[in-house]
Symmetry: C2
Subunit: 385 residues, 2 copies
């Protein structure tokens, strides 16, 4: 293999973004009705948990994703937490997820008292692989009284969370098939994947429920925000109820029939979201064009490979990704890019290396550990396309 | 006693609000820099967890309250949850609080696995009384190894949450004295009380920590939002850390050293908050003028009494409150007001009547139960002053 010329990587990235000075990892684009909807929201005086933009945003999300229901939440972590709870995850249950993910995936299980259980990722999708999942369940799973238990810990395995890393769809078919075999519900962490398709169907619509995120660095932003998707009427009603303090409808009385959350997306954030969603098609087109430009720019650069989507997947290419051949040189590359003002970052520290998740159950994590050492995310704002 | 003439109450409320048609319980007022700051926020592209308005909003909150630190959060429930956790409340601990409160007070304890323990309220403040608190602790409390245990349940009593009902300061001195005797930390639920003073000092600055709320119906709004107040440098740093996913500072690496929350207030909501806070003095002046007008309007109306602040307290009069002499007629009064388009409501269902808190430990709740039957909140928008 030819060796990595770090100067060449920096020059290639600088050439693709086509901008001098400091370049952020991901900036939102506000070129639509953002100001107008915010002004309208202020003039209506409805800025909080009640307002037309929340319903409008939910309807737009349904249209974009093809999901029957969308329940807007205060952020993606909150959405995933409630989705897990509604999927039946209880305190002390285990939830299977990748170790290669943002900490919110593990936290969302932790908040309801559940325990993350880490399964290896695969190179072709960066998400959990069906082979790793199947092998891990075969190694530790046993069926008992209509549920699956981890025979090493005795805990129930209550859900599987595939995470669509950097917007790239997981091997949905493979994972669905293993999950169906074991009858374990799938809750998709689609927080990075708004606009990504798997066989022409929007990710987040395969699981029993899923979570989206509209944080500031995502493909569209509501400031902070997220949503729960589901096709199930009853689960959707539960999601709405649980995210709005579990208040029973009444003309004036305050009756809350269970412990509910203050997780409703405020109308003002939804207003921003409506303006952003109107531009989603263009953002995705730009992101995909930018990804293609990165791919071409690195064709002739030795020592790094640009990560590209699988056949059958249409990724939103939320974050562009280099895989560094020689992991010993990753930090040198990160330093060079950042020193040049090009904000680049490694992937998240794997979950089982964080102190609070160190003792969680896990299978072999060789691929995740290898990817962790090699991934570098590049500046990915849509405007560079 | 002369009997209640419901028509007179409706007429008096209608006269005070001075507006035809449907009148909301509480509407925000956006007559300052709201649009301009939101526009600025959009133009800066910083709408999310990083941005100048979050820091500015926190500094303004420090100035307004006199608290050394203010940490902006996604809502008041989140603020209270994190404040309790930082005050040392752990899973299975008990937290003393009024039964007469909004469900978020109890939920915030519940979210961290703690158990609400209800103590009676007093008529003069509508908050927990020092006598009820003292008697309850004498009845069930025992000192053991530097902490206080409930000898009936065996659980540690880890915190006391006084809640400043409708903006009216509790008997801070009395409660502080009992809490100091037992060495139990106080975490103030000041979610309704921004701008309220007790002996010229802002409520929320007496406890070890406290929580504010800026929900849509509060005296100022950020859409959804809240804040943690504390004078303690170390607790403030913990609050900031815990509300921002517990991420350790690093140029690019993702290291989270404990289970943290995605609870940071987005910059766009903080921008709204800055514009609102600039008008707080006027809002309070208006609210207090409106309260005075209600007081005068009801001087000659039999069967109801307007609740007024205690000597030494300056209330923000968030919600104006009638105490109905004959509780049998409360619902008739509520129906008449609402049928006339005047949105009025009873106080929250007491916490121990809700199914999820029914079995929580509690002392006698006679005053709270009596108040629950008699309270009616009236339309309280500042604009009616």
């Amino acid at each position: 293999m030819r060796s990595l010329d770090i100067g060449k990587v920096v020059a290639a990235v600088r050439d693709v973004v086509g901008q001098e000075g400091v370049v952020a990892l991901h900036e939102p684009q506000f070129s639509g009705n953002e100001k107008s909807y915010l002004t309208d929201c202020i003039e209506s005086t409805f800025v909080s948990t009640v307002g037309v933009y929340v319903s409008k945003f939910e309807m737009m999300l349904q249209q974009v994703t093809g999901s029957k229901h969308a329940i807007a939440c205060v952020n993606g972590t909150a959405a995933l937490q409630v989705a897990l709870q509604i999927a039946g995850v209880r305190s002390s249950d285990e939830v299977i997820m990748p170790a290669l993910t943002f900490v919110a995936t593990a936290n969302s299980a932790s908040f309801i008292g559940a325990v993350p259980h880490f399964v290896d990722s695969e190179r072709k999708t960066l998400g959990i692989g069906s082979k790793a999942l199947s092998e891990r369940l075969a190694a530790i799973g046993e069926r008992a009284n209509g549920s699956v238990r981890n025979r090493e810990t005795g805990a129930r395995i209550a859900a599987i969370i595939p995470m669509h890393t950097f917007g790239h769809p997981v091997d949905v078919e493979g994972i669905e098939s293993v999950a169906a075999d074991w009858r374990i519900p799938v809750v998709e962490d689609a927080t990075e994947a708004l606009g990504s398709l798997y066989h022409n169907r929007h990710v987040g619509t395969f699981g029993l429920l899923s979570a989206l995120s509209f944080n500031g660095n995502k493909i569209i932003t509501t400031g902070g925000g997220g949503a729960i998707l589901t096709d199930d009427d009853e689960l959707a009603a539960r999601a709405k109820h649980l995210t709005t303090t579990a208040k029973a409808p009444h003309r004036w009385a305050f009756i809350h029939d269970e412990v509910g959350y203050n997780f409703r997306l405020p109308n003002i954030n939804a207003a921003l979201g409506c303006a952003q969603l109107e531009q989603l098609d263009r953002f995705i087109e730009q992101k995909r064009r930018l990804a293609e430009r990165y791919r071409r720019a690195f064709e002739t650069v030795a020592g790094v490979a640009v990560f590209v989507e699988q056949a059958g997947a249409r990724s939103n290419y939320w974050l562009n990704t280099l895989i560094v051949e020689d992991p010993e040189r990753r930090d040198e590359l990160l330093a060079a890019l950042n020193n040049d003002g090009l904000m680049a970052r490694p992937v998240w520290t794997l979950m089982h290396r964080l102190p609070m998740y160190h003792d969680c159950p896990r299978g072999p994590l060789d691929v995740a550990e290898d990817l962790e050492r090699r991934i570098v995310n590049l500046p990915s704002s849509a405007k560079f396309a």
